[in-house]
């Protein structure tokens, strides 16, 4: 893997006593689609929130273009954020604004462009995600899949270098999911964006990933190309790919203690 744009070094974070990320180190290459996969609760969304700078780790470094965003000042962080886009799980649209206002918001706040230019750019982004004609709808008036696409239009409004997706296809029907995958591939091809997607949808991973990073219980257990992932022998990766349930070892004493609330 060459030319990493993001390097995460030994990231540790915890909620109270629970270690959510436990020494995570990984590289994200420029111009590729990196998928961070893993079952629910493995810490992948937490990792994403660290990459965007929404959360601060207990220890470790996150190097973006060689500069550590953990120790960076808020002001610099805000400047960096204008060059990256994030699509949140539920779209993250501002519910009090129409779709057009949502998409044009970053342009209005961060650029000196004329209103007419902003309008045209807004329509272009909405057209790209197939929502032309819905400019004056409020987020509450459209479906979940459309919200995600509108959120994507806003995320790419500033033509970011890096695009982050939190569960891009979760909760979407198979057809809409496939369309979302196509859209992500199109963005990579036409705009040469670096894309980081957090997901647990197998079909989506197989469709879009160039590079796969598997997390389990806050640790990176596998990192490699999609081809290598599909033939990986690691039992946890295999279980994930083959959709096998984890082995539950039945221990009668443990069960008894758990349900009575007593500890040994």
């Amino acid at each position: 893997m060459t030319d990493p744009i993001i390097q995460v070094l030994d990231l540790v974070t915890s909620y109270g006593d629970l270690k959510v990320l436990d020494g995570v180190s990984l590289d994200i290459s420029r111009g590729l689609i990196t998928v961070v996969a893993g079952s629910s609760g493995c810490g992948k969304t937490t990792l994403l929130r660290h990459l965007i700078g929404l959360l601060k780790p207990v220890s470790g470094q996150i190097l973006l273009g060689g500069r550590d965003i953990v120790t960076m000042s808020e002001k610099e962080l805000y400047r960096i954020r204008t060059r990256q886009g994030v699509l949140f799980q539920s779209g993250g649209l501002l519910n009090s604004m129409t779709l057009a206002e949502n998409v044009s918001l970053p342009l209005k706040e961060h650029t000196e462009l004329e209103d007419s230019t902003i309008q045209i750019m807004t329509r272009m982004k909405l057209e790209l995600v197939g929502l032309l004609g819905f400019e004056n709808f409020l987020p509450s008036q459209i479906s979940g899949g459309m919200k995600k696409r509108a959120g994507l239009a806003r995320a790419i409004a500033m033509d970011p270098e890096i695009l982050y997706f939190d569960e891009p296809t979760a909760g979407l029907d198979p057809v809409t999911s496939a369309e979302m995958d196509q859209l992500i591939l199109k963005l990579k091809k036409t705009f040469k964006m670096t894309i980081v997607a957090v997901t647990h949808e197998l079909s989506s991973i197989k469709n879009i990933a160039d590079w796969v990073i598997m997390l389990d219980q806050g640790r990176v257990i596998f990192s490699g190309t999609l081809q290598k992932t599909l033939v990986c022998e690691n039992p946890i990766v295999r279980r994930f790919l083959d959709r096998k349930p984890g082995q539950v070892v039945y221990d009668s004493q443990k069960y008894l203690n758990a349900i009575t609330g007593m500890s040994l």
């Binding site: 993250g92 519910n95 918001l105």
Partner: protein, 265 residues
Amino acid sequence: MIYQLAGYMGRKSLSVMGELSHGAMLINETIYWLFLGPFKKKGMRWRSGIHQMVLIGFEAIPIVALISLSVGIIMALQAAYQLRRVGALIYVADLVGISITRELGPLLTAIILAGRSGSAFAAEIGSMKVTEEVDALVAMGLNPVKFLVAPKMLAIMLMLPSLVLISDFVGIAGGFLVAVGGLHLNFERYFTQTVHALMLNDILTGLTKGLVFSMIIGFVGCHEGFSVEGGAEGVGLRTTRSVVTGIFLIILADCFFTVLFYLFV
């Protein structure tokens, strides 16, 4: 038992300290955006500020006026009940005028706005936090304090003192109604008596209180909003707390300022 007590006290004081430090950070950042923002390019969202002014100020005029009118009437009647016995009925004008401008106008307006606007701030910011909208703002590189708090603070700091003026006027008018209609005092005498009784200081101290109360309402509402955790239940909890804490702090501040003004102004 003693361990549990110590643990409870420790946890409580930690959470109170945490809230205080969050509150202080919010105040710090708000002051930055409120006073330096307007001098920066795109530093203040004027349009949103004006929208908030309509919501906070203009739409509160009927309720503020109605309550002030009632309190003016109540004050006049209660004063008359006492003053009639010493045959000093004309002093109803002094009593109503001064207590409305120095005390009841700002206090009533602040309590109405704590219920109307403080809770709205907490609910709006809180539900935006629950639906990831606040995170989305940050991720877009937009500071939530600049985007959400500064326009609200600007609006309430301008609107609350303005509403206090309306409340003063309507409250005194309520006293007028009672005096002229019920107590058969001469309209002109009552008017000159009120004008002589009131000094500019009375109105100014009331407006100063109003400004302080507006900051309390704004900060408490926004702070509670940003402190929302969990889902809808968290929003409800924090909205309630914004009103209760707001009114509590308003009355504390009122007590402090009344003592201060009594001694020095």
